[in-house]
Symmetry: C2
Subunit: 426 residues, 2 copies
Amino acid sequence: MTVGVGILGGGTVGGALAHRLLTERQAIADKAGLSLDLRYLAVRELGKPRPYAFPAGVLTDRPEDVVNDPSVNLVVELMGGMEPAGDLVLQALKSGKPVVTANKELVAARGKELIEAAEASGVSLLFEAAVGGAIPIIRPLSESLAGERISEVLGIVNGTTNYILTQMCDNGAPYSSALAKAQDLGYAEADPTADVSGGDAASKAAILASLSFGTWVGSEDVYREGIEDLLAIDISYAADLGYLPKLLAVASDTGEGVSVRVHTTLIPSDHPLATVRGSQNAVYVKGPDVDELLFAGPGAGGDPTATAVLGDIITSSRELLAGAQVPPRVRFGPGRLRAFEEVETSWYLRLEVMDKPGVLAQIAATIGGNAVSIESMVQLGRDDEATLLFITHPSPEADHRKAIAALGELDVVRQVAAAIRVLPPT
Amino acid sequence: MTVGVGILGGGTVGGALAHRLLTERQAIADKAGLSLDLRYLAVRELGKPRPYAFPAGVLTDRPEDVVNDPSVNLVVELMGGMEPAGDLVLQALKSGKPVVTANKELVAARGKELIEAAEASGVSLLFEAAVGGAIPIIRPLSESLAGERISEVLGIVNGTTNYILTQMCDNGAPYSSALAKAQDLGYAEADPTADVSGGDAASKAAILASLSFGTWVGSEDVYREGIEDLLAIDISYAADLGYLPKLLAVASDTGEGVSVRVHTTLIPSDHPLATVRGSQNAVYVKGPDVDELLFAGPGAGGDPTATAVLGDIITSSRELLAGAQVPPRVRFGPGRLRAFEEVETSWYLRLEVMDKPGVLAQIAATIGGNAVSIESMVQLGRDDEATLLFITHPSPEADHRKAIAALGELDVVRQVAAAIRVLPPT
């Protein structure tokens, strides 16, 4: 009843996991009914100081040896990035070893190939920790909700940007100082690009969409924009209109195809996701039978993520010990992707305009002339300083882009100062 | 790749499920990669009018024939209640057929025996729909969080009482009229006892606790009180103090044993569960590594519950088709239960007192003399009409009961008009 575990990657999650496998071995055995034996932890630099001590022989800098060692029954990939992680995972699966990974980038890019390799070998590839840290969402989507025709998934799946946006909302801080604070506190990395540009969220959105709709969506299929251009003044105006900003992952299947996108979105302040603050994550699932489901919790961090990985290790070990061919958990049917330009979006627009007679008529004609209709309008200030705020009704993304470009060409419009997508109230 | 499904019980959930198996057969096949063939729907009265039409031969009034028919590979039990449901489930499992059930009463009472019977036959017993309707919570607790040392689970797991309490909070309605409205709208049954007395929530609490702590907790081990005695005036006072009432299922393991209870609880108005309104359900999970997780959604209803059942059917069918011995998903270790009297609770107390010098000193001495300490006190009114509101610090339930009894004996106390447990702010 012992499973030999080999961990690839000795960073925050790998270190925390290895430590728990050693210190909680008896507790896991009592609760889960199986014995997990940490055989290896493959790290980049053997000599680097570490917060935990490991028994002799556990640390190695040769990940390929971990995958090949016959005493390793199950491989845990926590290196991150595409290579060598991808080939090591594939090699493990092909040799009949189940794999647990937290690598969203890898799963979003090569998930279909890896899942098929796992199925061909009759073993599991589990990746609960790839989205939402400790929040159980992969298993609920792919198993519990396998019978639901999910129509929409909305996710706050990047803690760094949610922390920054919460700071901007609470304190009126500009983006740059909220980012600096996030970096000081360790919520953002020195190079924050992957988080603030939406890249990390896009990988997670691709995974959520693939599992929700049973149609493979790769990270390259996800439209993405980051939060870098958001101004404090628009957060303030949006609050007055009853909205607040989130970097939202949106995956929808309207029956005309699957669309997946990540962008700054103004959500109604009474939406369930509006309560998700700071570095918290949450996923909101909509379907005709389940109506609305919400899953929320810590989206990152060594200990929460290690818990998600450990849950997958226990599931996979139970399967190993049952000696079973593992049934497939997910399956990708035909389905088709829908171009973002066709998808209906709503927008908040802030125009800096000259205030003279006929200006509003000219602007309204330009918006309407591009098949976009206005839900509400507010005018602030007068004369040379006039600001117009618009919220538009849903219409195709392409029409909105044309309308925004046309507004920028008008002589009476000094500047289209902000254009942010809006989640319409449900 | 076809699985023959036999459903026992043609009520709201059974009818909705049978209808979906017939009408969504192709969609399920596309998404899940398997074909589910509805063989039987066992109902109580064959002649009763039904909202859906079924093919000839599907309806039967002989549930034992469904279990025994060799064309039925998988049994779905939606009859509810203890018998004959329990023996039919046991018979199916013993004959090597996996079972999916939504029957919380049965699982809470005989779950250990049934899970062991399933394990002995190498098949699954799945019951995602038994708690929280469409909210995936059973699988997350027993699989995703198998590696977490969960310390506390708080659940709003009865939609009827949550609807009634939300009405009382929003409109200041008394219990009786909020109950009548819930009955009018179909949220409460003509005999609401099982809901309002906490019995339904107690079964669900027992299941949540068993899975969270890996220690078997039967429904008879759950302390329970209902919401029937709650007065609108105390909801109003509690709101002023920053609290609102929920019928809360509380399962905790403080290291000194597992305690499970269901009772009206005043929770801080900024607690994540405070946003769960109307007939919604939610489960909140706390642990040292995951910190806080929240799962929320519709807790009952034919369509949401049918989705949860269908997810279990698909999982179980995939296992059947893989031809595997199914590994155990849960395991009950030793662990011990803790008597509720030893558990630390906090209370809201409303005393109607005579307002004369020395009264407060006498009351404070009585509370302190029973090893309970006061967190805050508010005096309302004067003279003959004086009301004192206390919130106490956590101390053992037994001490609180003694203090409350002793307060009732004091001459200066006209009445201990309300005593409601409080969830301390975290």
